[in-house]
């Protein structure tokens, strides 16, 4: 990557913003106070472009804003009806891929998937539900996995390897069968994971979460019950 010191300018939906070479588009937009919807991206982790919710149109072609390096003179479309429809479709696909039933879910109000769905105006998914059978792993004393909510964002994979230095998580299989792997045996209890690990705190849907904290904050007064996800819309 090029050095991070060359000032460049680009436009997002006609608004001129400045950035530095070496930044990604999503970083430049965040710095300028422009919200690009996203799910798998996390500011403390390298981007991987799994969810594609941050898809923008750059100089006429589509790409993920989280992985696209900025360049001087870039013309970016972001908050358009076409792109927001595409993002809503991606969110709906994410919903039907797993088992996400917000009204009965213990992390309702504290879930990035639900929050982005609200922000993009999704009501209910119009794709047929895939109703997969997913496993729950309670073998560890402090941390458990409810795979029903996993959206394959890969944050735990990245955080465990790069920040916790443990490489507990990875992937297995491909296509619709792709899943997060827990070392070799898929039992958290056999790993060195701890409740304080970054891998646990970054999960956007809390399918990986600390035990005995479920309702510490009551429904209705959680993060996204109070305000929508992301940078507030401009008036």
């Amino acid at each position: 990557m090029s050095d991070r010191n060359e000032r460049i300018t680009l436009t997002i939906d006609g608004v001129e913003i400045s950035g530095e070479s070496g930044m990604t588009l999503i970083e430049a937009a965040d710095a300028a106070g422009i919200y690009i919807p996203r799910l798998c991206h996390h500011p403390d982790l390298p981007p991987t472009g799994h969810c594609r919710v941050c898809t923008v149109t750059v100089n006429g072609g589509n790409g993920a804003a989280c992985t696209r390096p900025v360049a001087d003179g870039m013309v970016v479309e972001n908050d358009t009806e076409r792109l927001n429809t595409l993002r809503r479709n991606l969110i709906e696909m994410t919903f039907v891929e797993g088992n996400h039933y917000c009204p009965e879910c213990e992390v309702s109000g504290d879930c990035e998937l639900q929050a982005v769905a609200y922000r993009l105006g999704m009501t209910a998914p119009h794709y047929p539900a895939l109703n997969p059978e997913r496993e729950i792993d309670g073998s560890h004393p402090d941390v458990f996995i409810d795979r029903n909510r996993c959206i394959l964002c890969g944050r735990c994979v990245r955080a465990s390897a790069l920040i916790d230095g443990k490489s507990i998580f990875g992937y297995k299989y491909r296509g619709i069968h792709k899943a997060v792997a827990v070392v070799v045996t898929d039992r958290l209890g056999e790993t060195e994971i701890e409740a304080t690990d970054k891998a646990v705190s970054v999960c956007p849907t809390q399918c990986l979460r600390v035990k005995r904290r479920g309702f510490r904050t009551p429904l209705g007064s959680r993060r996204f019950d109070r305000e929508p996800i992301g940078i507030p819309e401009r008036e």
Binding site: T48, G49, H50, C51, R52, V53, T55, N62, A64, T67, R68, P69, L86, N89, L90, M93, T94, V96, E97, H126, Y127, P128, L130, I151, L152, A161, S167, I168, F169, G170, Y171, K172, Y173, R174, G175, I176, H177, K178, A181, V182, V183, V184, T185
Partner: protein, 590 residues
């Protein structure tokens, strides 16, 4: 067994070096010896290659031909791609199930035989086909299956069984790729008389474009790679043709490997590479011995290895790496990931492989056919090359022709040839439709037969499947989309989930259950998949639906349900299941 595993892994790593890029070699060796890769071997492999166990597991579970579950001593991998199904793979499968007493996906209780399905393995010209352990079987018919299974059970050498072996159906050699006269080293001799820049100019002047289907100008690719800075440059030959219905690289590697390697050597000279790799698909492992012999011959003749043609400043050698069953690995950045010992998930671009490719170094990844043409360009010159084909698509193209034709096989045609001319050439009368470019290509009906094979009209990687009259084309489109859902790497949501949803829609469509509203929603979903997917697999996955809908809308009209709304599930079946579970009588009238 654990000790034997350990010893085997240690020996291989000792030979290859403790480097994570060798995980495929180690996994293949363990798999060959034990029939599968036991979970207990994963930490050992990881420790020796300085990887984490979860990384090794990730890689192993990705590839179709590697398994962490025990398999039989003999594994029958029957191809169930579209052309094989047209030619009777279904009846062959039934015969295998009858003879072995098990279903596909299972292993006999004595651990002797496993039955598995596999995607197109490059034998559509002699379908139905199967790989039994490493041995290809072709032209299988149900009557043959009994003999094959008996032979397996008797422990006979698989190569002696009926149906084993491959014919290389070269039906029409042309002037560029299958020329018979090219002397070994003839192009290299021309090359060493000119500078790297002059050689590059010749390639650029030829207007040659990549033969994989995307048609990127070869000269431009080479130039970008040559100008990119890095410690080393690499030249990689993509011999992982997995597009359903293609097999031209199989024939090319069997008959003209010298010219392929010559082209790679020329590319190496231009971009400044000393190392080349051929990524050979696992399905073509039976060609490896031949390719190794050709490489050895070239080293002996001084056209490969150190100081090529006694030219002190130019050394270049080629090694062969073998895959393990994946379609998406044919995407250039996925192929590089695979060579680095990882799951074949395509990379985000930019950066492109010419800038940061294998081991983060500038890398050319090109089709087998492209390298072959490059050798011809350097030997005979750009002007000569441009005398073939069209202005925008100079040269010739190899077509792998299969399906309802009299003469399936490989044909070298000039770019610009009409589809009708090809149909005439291969003996296809009254074709209903042609699938050009495989599953990711397009389906054309007779209204499109005057169109030309060329980048400016109908581009193709080379697959040419003919559907004769009476064929249920929509059923094959359904199978193509199912294929994408199975081969999606799963990295990104639109491809992973979208192809599965699209596959479900096609199931309903073919069953006559889809409504017009369902079709409209499916078309909108195609738009999302195409516009949001990370790589070419997702971008092209809706093509079977979209292109056949465009060329043959009447097939859809006939297949749609007359209902304005149809539920996504069978209410009656659900109620009956519920009643059965509760031990109540089944509801009436459902």
């Amino acid at each position: 067994m654990v000790q034997e595993q350990e010893a085997l892994i240690e020996r291989i790593v000792h030979d290859l070096g403790p480097d994570g890029t060798h995980v495929m070699d180690v996994a293949r060796a363990v798999s060959k010896r034990f029939g599968y890769i036991p979970n207990s071997a994963i930490p050992t492999i990881a420790r020796h290659l300085q990887l984490s166990p979860v990384e090794v597991r990730d890689m192993i579970t990705f590839y179709g031909h590697l398994s962490t579950d025990p398999l039989g001593t003999t594994v029958v991998r029957l191809c169930n791609a579209v052309v094989e199904n047209m030619m009777g793979a279904g009846e062959v499968a039934a015969a295998f199930e009858r003879e072995t007493g098990i279903r596909f996906g299972e292993t006999t209780s004595d651990g002797e035989i496993s039955l598995r399905y596999t995607a197109c393995m490059g034998l559509s010209d002699q379908a139905p086909s199967a790989l039994i352990n490493d041995v290809p079987f072709t032209g299988i018919h149900p009557e043959l299956v009994q003999e094959i299974v008996r032979g397996i059970r008797a422990g006979l050498n698989l190569t002696t069984l009926p149906g084993s072996g491959v014919r290389h159906n070269l039906k029409k050699p042309g002037e560029i790729i299958f020329r018979r006269s090219m002397e070994h080293g003839a192009a290299i001799d021309k090359l060493l008389g000119v500078s790297r820049e002059e050689a590059l100019e010749e390639i650029k002047r030829s207007g040659m474009r990549g033969a994989g289907g995307a048609g990127f100008p070869a000269g431009k690719k080479w130039e970008l790679c040559k100008n990119a800075s890095g410690d080393k440059h690499y030249v990689i030959c993509n011999a992982d043709e997995g597009e359903p219905g293609t097999f031209k690289d199989r024939v090319l590697l069997a008959y003209n490997a010298h010219q392929v390697f010559e082209g790679m050597t020329i590319a190496a000279y231009v971009v400044g590479a000393t190392e080349g790799i051929v990524y050979l698909r696992d399905e073509y492992d039976y060609l490896r011995g031949h390719l190794e012999r050709v490489l050895e011959e070239r080293r002996e003749k001084g056209v490969l290895g150190d100081t090529i043609r006694s030219y002190q400043k130019f050394s270049f050698d080629i090694r062969i790496e073998v895959g393990a069953g994946s379609y998406v690995v044919g995407e250039e950045s996925a192929l590089i990931e695979s060579l680095e010992g990882k799951r074949a998930a395509p990379r985000e671009r930019p950066p492109f492989p010419v800038q940061r490719g294998y081991l983060s170094q500038p890398t050319i990844v090109s089709n087998v056919e492209t390298f072959t043409s490059a050798a011809a360009v350097i030997e005979r010159g750009a002007e000569w090359f441009r005398s073939f084909g069209t202005d925008k698509s100079p040269g010739t193209k190899l077509l792998s022709v299969s399906g309802d034709v009299q003469q399936p096989g490989v044909y070298e045609i000039e770019y610009g040839t009409t589809i009708r001319t090809v149909l005439h050439l291969v003996g296809a009368r009254n074709a209903q439709a042609v699938q050009i470019g495989g599953a990711s290509g397009r389906c054309l009906s007779s209204g499109g037969f005057e169109r030309r094979i060329a980048f400016e009209d109908v581009p193709t990687g080379g697959s040419f499947i003919v559907f004769g009259p009476g064929r249920d084309v929509l059923e094959y489109m359904r199978q193509f989309i199912e294929f994408f859902a199975e081969e999606s790497c799963g990295w990104c949501t639109p491809c992973r989930v979208g192809t599965t949803l699209l596959s479900r829609f096609m199931d309903r469509l073919v069953a006559g259950e889809a409504t017009r509203g369902d079709l409209d929603r499916a078309i909108e979903m195609c738009d999302t998949i195409r516009n949001a997917s990370r790589c070419g697999l997702g971008i092209t996955a809706p093509n079977p639906l979209l292109t056949s809908l465009e060329s043959m809308p009447e097939l859809y009209e006939r297949r749609l349900s007359a209902e304005s709304y149809a539920p996504q599930f069978d209410l009656g079946a659900e109620l009956r299941a519920g009643a059965a579970a509760a031990n109540r009588p089944a509801p009436q009238g459902m």
